[in-house]
C-alpha cells in the first residue's frame, strides 16, 4: 500500500461513510419494521427521536459520498507519477484489477446518494414524516452497495504496488485495441456521435422545459436525463475529448481533469452528475405529489429540480460546444473513423 495523503483521505472517508451507513441501516431496519405514527408507544417515540439523528448523520455521510467520487479521481490523477506507463488517472486505475470496478460503483453510489438526499429533504418538509419508509428502504438498498464499494476501494489501494507497469490511457482508450470497453467507445465514429449527442440533448432539454411549464412528462424527463447521462459519458470519450486535447486520437476521459487543461474535466463532470441526479430526482418524487403533508411544497420543488437539471445539462452542452468551437482540431470525414 502506498501511504500517500490522498490515499489515506480516500480510505478514511470510505470507512467513516461505511461505518455510519451500517449504524444507520441497523436502526433503519427497526424503523421499517415498527414505524407507526398513529400509536403513542414508547418505541415509536424513541424511533421518532432517533430518525432525527440518523437523517442528519446520513445527510453528511451521503454528502461525503458525493465528494468521494471526485476525491477518488483526483487521487488516481495525483498518484500517476508513481507508476510507470501512467500519465493520468486512467493508468493509475489500471494498476490492479480493482481500480475501475471501484470507479463504476462510486458513480452508481453518487447517483443513489444524491437521490437519497433529495428524498430526505422532501421528507423533512412534511409534518408527518411522509417518506420515511421509502427513505429507509432506499438506505437498505444503498448500504450494501456502499459496503461493497468500500471493500473494493480498500482492495484497490491496499493492493497497489509501485513496481507495476500500467497501460497508458492512450492504449486503454485507443480505437485500435480490440478488447476493452474503453476502446469500443473510443472507436465510435466521431461525427455521427456528435449528431447523437446534440439531438439527444435537444430532446432532453425540450422535455425538461415542457415539464417545467406544463407539469407533464416527468417520468419521461427522468428517463431521458438518465439516457443523456450515458450518452454524454460516451460522447466525452468518443469526440469531446478530442477537441479538448486537440489530438485526433486521444480519447481519454481522465486527462481532461489535469491542470494543463485547466481542470475542465471536473467542471464537466460536476455539471453532468448534478444534472442526472436532479433529473432522476424528478422521477423519484412524482409518485408523492398526492401526499397531504407535502401538498404545499412538492409540486413546486419538483419543478425546481427539473429546471436545475435542464440548466445543468444546458451549461454542460454550452461548455462542450465552446470547447469544440474554439478548438484548433478539425475532424474531417476521412481521418477519424
Amino acid at each position: 500500500m502506498i501511504l500517500h495523503p490522498t490515499v489515506i483521505a480516500n480510505l478514511l472517508a470510505a470507512y467513516i461513510a461505511g461505518g455510519m451507513v451500517l449504524y444507520a441501516v441497523f436502526y433503519g431496519v427497526q424503523i421499517l419494521k415498527h414505524w407507526d405514527i398513529q400509536n403513542g408507544h414508547e418505541l415509536q417515540l424513541v424511533l421518532e427521536r432517533r430518525t432525527y439523528l440518523i437523517s442528519t448523520l446520513l445527510s453528511y455521510v451521503f454528502g461525503l459520498q458525493l465528494l468521494s467520487l471526485f476525491l477518488y479521481i483526483f487521487t488516481a490523477d495525483n498518484l500517476t507519477p508513481l507508476f510507470v506507463g501512467a500519465m493520468c488517472a486512467a493508468g493509475t486505475l489500471n494498476v490492479d484489477s480493482f481500480g475501475y470496478p471501484t470507479l463504476v460503483l462510486k458513480i452508481f453510489n453518487f447517483i443513489l446518494a444524491g437521490l437519497w438526499l433529495v428524498l430526505n429533504y422532501v421528507d423533512n418538509q412534511g409534518y408527518d414524516y411522509p417518506l420515511i419508509k421509502k427513505k429507509y428502504l432506499l438506505l437498505a438498498f444503498v448500504a450494501p452497495v456502499i459496503i461493497v464499494e468500500t471493500i473494493l476501494e480498500s482492495a484497490y489501494f491496499l493492493d497497489m504496488e509501485a513496481d507495476v507497469i500500467t497501460s497508458c490511457c492512450g492504449s486503454l482508450f485507443s480505437s485500435e485495441r480490440v478488447t476493452g470497453l474503453g476502446s469500443e467507445i473510443a472507436s465510435l465514429p466521431a461525427r455521427p456521435m456528435m449528431w447523437v449527442f446534440y439531438s439527444a440533448m435537444a430532446c432532453t432539454l425540450l422535455c425538461g422545459i415542457f415539464f417545467y411549464f406544463n407539469n407533464l412528462g416527468g417520468y419521461l424527463y427522468a428517463l431521458l436525463s438518465l439516457l443523456m447521462f450515458f450518452i454524454s459519458l460516451v460522447s466525452i470519450v468518443s469526440f469531446i475529448s478530442l477537441y479538448i486535447y486537440e489530438l485526433p486520437t486521444h480519447h481519454c476521459p481522465f486527462c481532461i481533469i489535469m491542470e494543463e487543461y485547466n481542470y475542465i474535466g471536473y467542471l464537466l463532470y460536476i455539471l453532468l452528475f448534478g444534472a442526472v441526479v436532479s433529473g432522476l430526482g424528478v422521477g423519484a418524487l412524482i409518485p408523492f405529489r398526492q401526499v397531504e403533508s407535502l401538498q404545499a411544497m412538492l409540486s413546486g420543488f419538483i419543478r425546481k429540480l427539473a429546471l436545475a437539471s435542464v440548466i445543468l445539462y444546458a451549461a454542460f452542452t454550452t461548455l462542450v460546444t465552446y470547447e469544440i468551437v474554439t478548438s484548433s482540431l478539425v475532424i474531417s470525414y476521412e481521418v477519424v473513423y
Binding site: 510507470v84 506507463g85 500519465m87 507497469i165 497508458c168 490511457c169 492512450g170 492504449s171 486535447y245 489530438l247 485526433p248 486520437t249 486521444h250 481519454c252 486527462c255 494543463e260 474531417s332 476521412e334 481521418v335
Partner: protein, 162 residues
C-alpha cells in the same frame, strides 16, 4: 617529450574546435502545452526522453520517448492527418547517457533493458555502438538495433511486455 606534448596539445585543440552540432540546431524549447501526438502525454515533464520530428513545412512534434516517435513514423497520417512520412525532414532522439539530442537515424537503440521510460518498455537511444553496448551489459539489454531495423512488430512487442 616535446613531440608528445605537442601531439596532446594538437589533439586538445582539435577536440575543442570540433563542431558537435549536426545539420541545423533543433528547436529545443519545449512549451508546457506540447503533447506527444501519439499518446497525449505532456512532453515537458520528461526532458530526458524527448524525441522530435521536424517536417519539411517547418512544423515539429515532440514525443515522450523513441517508441512513440516510431509509432508516429509508422502511421503518420493517423496521428497528424494531412502529413506523411515523406514530408519528414529531421528526426532527433535524446541520448540516454549524454542527455542531449542526437540524430535518430544514426543512433543505436537498446531493447529489452530494465530501464523503463514514461511509456513503459522503450528503445533507449545512444550515439555510438560502444555506449550502447556498455548500457546493454549494465542493464540486461537484449539487443541493439539501428534505425532502419526497427519495425512496427518490434514496437508492438514492447507494448505487450508487462
Amino acid at each position: 617529450m616535446q613531440t608528445k606534448a605537442t601531439h596532446w596539445l594538437t589533439l586538445l585543440i582539435l577536440l575543442f574546435s570540433m563542431d558537435f552540432s549536426y545539420g541545423g540546431e533543433p528547436a529545443v524549447t519545449i512549451k508546457k502545452t506540447d503533447r506527444c501526438p501519439v499518446c497525449g502525454m505532456f512532453v515537458y515533464k520528461y526532458p530526458k526522453w524527448v524525441a522530435q520530428i521536424i517536417f519539411k513545412d517547418g512544423t515539429s512534434y515532440f514525443y515522450d520517448g523513441a517508441k512513440d516517435m516510431f509509432k508516429h513514423i509508422f502511421d503518420t497520417a493517423k496521428y497528424t492527418p494531412g502529413k506523411s512520412v515523406e514530408a519528414i525532414k529531421d528526426i532527433y532522439v535524446t541520448d540516454y547517457y549524454e542527455v542531449e539530442l542526437i540524430d535518430a537515424k544514426s543512433a543505436f537503440y537498446v531493447l529489452g533493458s530494465d530501464v523503463l521510460g514514461p511509456m513503459g518498455h522503450e528503445l533507449l537511444p545512444f550515439k555510438d555502438q560502444e555506449s550502447a553496448q556498455e548500457f546493454l551489459e549494465d542493464h540486461k539489454g537484449k539487443s541493439i538495433l539501428r534505425f532502419q531495423e526497427v519495425t512496427p512488430a518490434i514496437i508492438e512487442s514492447l507494448d505487450h511486455r508487462r
